[in-house]
Amino acid sequence: MMKSQTGEATGTFHMENFRRRSRYAAVFAVLAAALFAILILNINTGTTNIPVSRILKIVFLREGAQTEYNIIWKIRMPRLLMAAILGGALSLSGFLLQTFFENPIAGPYLLGISSGAKMVVALAMIYFLEKFNKVSSYTLIIAAFIGSLIATGFILLVSRRIKHMATLLIAGTMIGYICSAITDFMVTFAEDSDIVNLHGWSQGSFSGMSWSNVKVAAVIIAVAVVLTFMLSKPIGAYQLGEAYAQSMGVNIKIFRVTLILLSSVLSATVTAFAGPISFVGIAVPHLVKQALNTSRPLIVVPGTFLGGAVFCMLSDLIARTAFAPLELNISTVTSIFGAPVVIAMMLKRQKGRQ
């Protein structure tokens, strides 16, 4: 065995970990830089262009022209923060589902969980707007959570009988279609005034976010993300399969329930505010894992959140500006970037199997 300059034998686990840390650091540095760049770019671009120097002034010193101040603080900042938070949450939710189903192509959108949430949220919106003329963020989140759990429940029922993953994904997609159909049905018969709200939202969009939305989403998601991070260790054990995880001391039943609840809370919060958003939950965890060259949850969980934030902010920027003043659905953009990644993943897996 060769000895390196530090007197440490190469090929030891310590040396391997040592080398890996520099890769992690590089990836996180790139992600952080991208986050910052897109943040600035997002605030800067739109129907009114505001130069960077004035942006910094408005953001950090809170001084500047009233219109520009309002555009930044009332419209662009909440929207882009929401894109960041919800994008991170969505990616993490995907990562948890992939862990749970032991399949990298599982995600809240493909498994119909987002559509389930959408259905119950639409129901809640119509009901509450008719009765009380308003609906709170909390109501929507709870509705989305219930919808997520209903859809997840169905998937779990199916997964008891169907072990084959591809079939399970088809079942999930079908559940998604059923929920979407019911949602469309409700939208068709809803009051005209509600439809405007519902229509934009049910296609997925970050527009019209307020600071109170940001606060609620930030608190819920922060709690869920911290809890997920604390679960890094059992998640890592679970990656080897249920039986091995148990032999390492993980209480499988409790762990599985926790995993589903966390992923549901995360994806439900996203759906409640921004509607269903496609492919982020699958593409981002995959890209992040490849970049980090590890699936270690302790590293991948924060990486995925950060990556999701960057991905969704960038997608939102494109959605806003590509055909301005027309705005695209967020899913239109995420699908264009996300779906090819998923196809590439499937091809790679197929190749690996041969």
Binding site: T12, H14, K233, G236, Q239, A243, S247, L298
Partner: protein, 366 residues
């Protein structure tokens, strides 16, 4: 029965609350290698899965160092018991080091961050299974034999008192089989780790195990030391062998003998007959062997493969009666093969047999 390290008391195991195997009462000493043998689907895995708590115990109990298995928390159990399972593991982007490091799980903190000491333990475990060079390779990119060694290193890294292995030697070639079993043997004897495993290769089970448990469908057919278990009848009955033989002396399996009137008479001694017997058997030619002493190695195989074997009491001169028997048998055969024989004062009359065969034009030499 005195309390031993591991005790199974009236244990019943099975799936979904239905017992498949009842009344398992077995005691295991610390540092023993216990091997479960038995036909496919007999319930070897079911028993192992119940011991590792993957399956709920139907009734009865298992104690480890006088503690009831079901009362232990999964966490406590994980410091006592490590497993190597048959399930194919397909981890993503994990090197062999990473896989082995998961064995440190019970000893790391809340977030599972590995200390310098943990890293060292991983290296040591890799060394114990002679797999240092695999450390940085992707776990999915190595061969089955290497994978099995890495999984064993993972179990060692968990520093358990007991290692449970479900068919650890399947998919391995002969060299890795021997290597894996000798590593287990060393661990059991040097570190006092108790090894409980199932094996398909009964010949290896006979050589490595201190205790054999024969699992047969609904019950434990036998349990005991290998020398008492590995009798021809026991094994034949356990596996329901009606198309071959089990030789308890070497633990080897033999295909059924060619039946019919013997066509060839083989004269040999001291092992020279074995390759000839096998060749005749492969060609499906019924044959007879003689004159053999039962303490001759050729006799062990002739007994199983030859249609008829002429024998004489060990170290005695070949008697008139035995000689006549051999001549008669030789006359009925189409040819005689001299596979090579050492002739001394006791078996001197073999010379006469050979001469007669020569005269009859039947003698073929190799």
């Amino acid at each position: 029965m005195a309390e031993q390290y591991i005790n199974m008391n009236n244990l019943a195991v099975g799936y979904n609350g239905k017992a498949l195997i009842h009344d398992i009462c077995i005691g295991i000493e610390k540092g023993e290698i216990v091997t479960l043998i038995g036909p496919n689907g007999a319930g070897k895995s079911t028993i192992l899965k119940s011991i590792t708590r993957q399956l709920k115990i139907i009734s009865g109990n298992v104690t480890i160092a006088e503690e009831n298995l079901t009362k232990l928390s999964f966490r406590d159990l994980s410091t006592k018991m490590a497993v190597v399972l048959t399930e194919r593991m397909k981890p993503e982007l994990m090197t062999c080091h990473d896989i082995v490091a998961t064995g440190r799980y019970p000893y790391t903190g809340k977030l599972g961050i590995l200390s310098r000491e943990d890293e060292q333990k991983v290296d040591e475990a890799m060394e114990a299974v002679h797999a240092q060079e695999l450390g940085e390779r992707d776990f999915n990119a190595i061969s089955d034999g290497q994978r099995q060694r890495v999984l064993l290193a993972r179990a060692i890294c968990q520093e358990p008192e007991i290692i449970v292995l479900d068919e650890p030697t399947s998919f391995l070639d002969v060299r890795y089989k021997l290597e894996l079993l000798s590593i287990l043997r060393n661990m059991a004897k040097k570190k006092g780790i108790t090894v409980i495993m199932s094996l398909h290769e009964i010949d290896l089970a006979e050589k490595v195990a201190d205790k054999i448990i024969c699992v047969k469908g609904d019950r434990i057919a036998h349990c005991g030391k290998p020398e008492t278990i590995f009798q021809e009848e026991t094994i034949r009955e356990l596996y329901g062998i009606d198309n071959g033989y089990f030789d308890p002396v070497f633990g080897s399996l033999e295909l059924p003998r060619p039946e019919g009137e013997p066509k060839v008479f083989v004269i040999s001694s001291g092992g020279s007959g074995i390759p000839v017997y096998r060749r005749l058997q492969r060609k499906n030619i019924p044959f007879a062997a003689g004159v053999l002493y039962p303490n001759d190695i050729d006799y062990q195989l002739a007994r199983l493969l030859a249609v008829q074997t002429v024998t004489e009491k060990p170290f005695e001169k070949i008697s008139e009666q035995t000689f006549e028997e051999a001549v008669k048998l030789m006359d009925s055969c189409e040819s005689v093969i001299n596979a090579g024989i050492i002739i001394g004062s006791a078996n001197h009359r073999i010379v006469e047999l050979l001469e007669k065969a020569q005269q009859d034009g039947k003698l073929k030499s190799l």
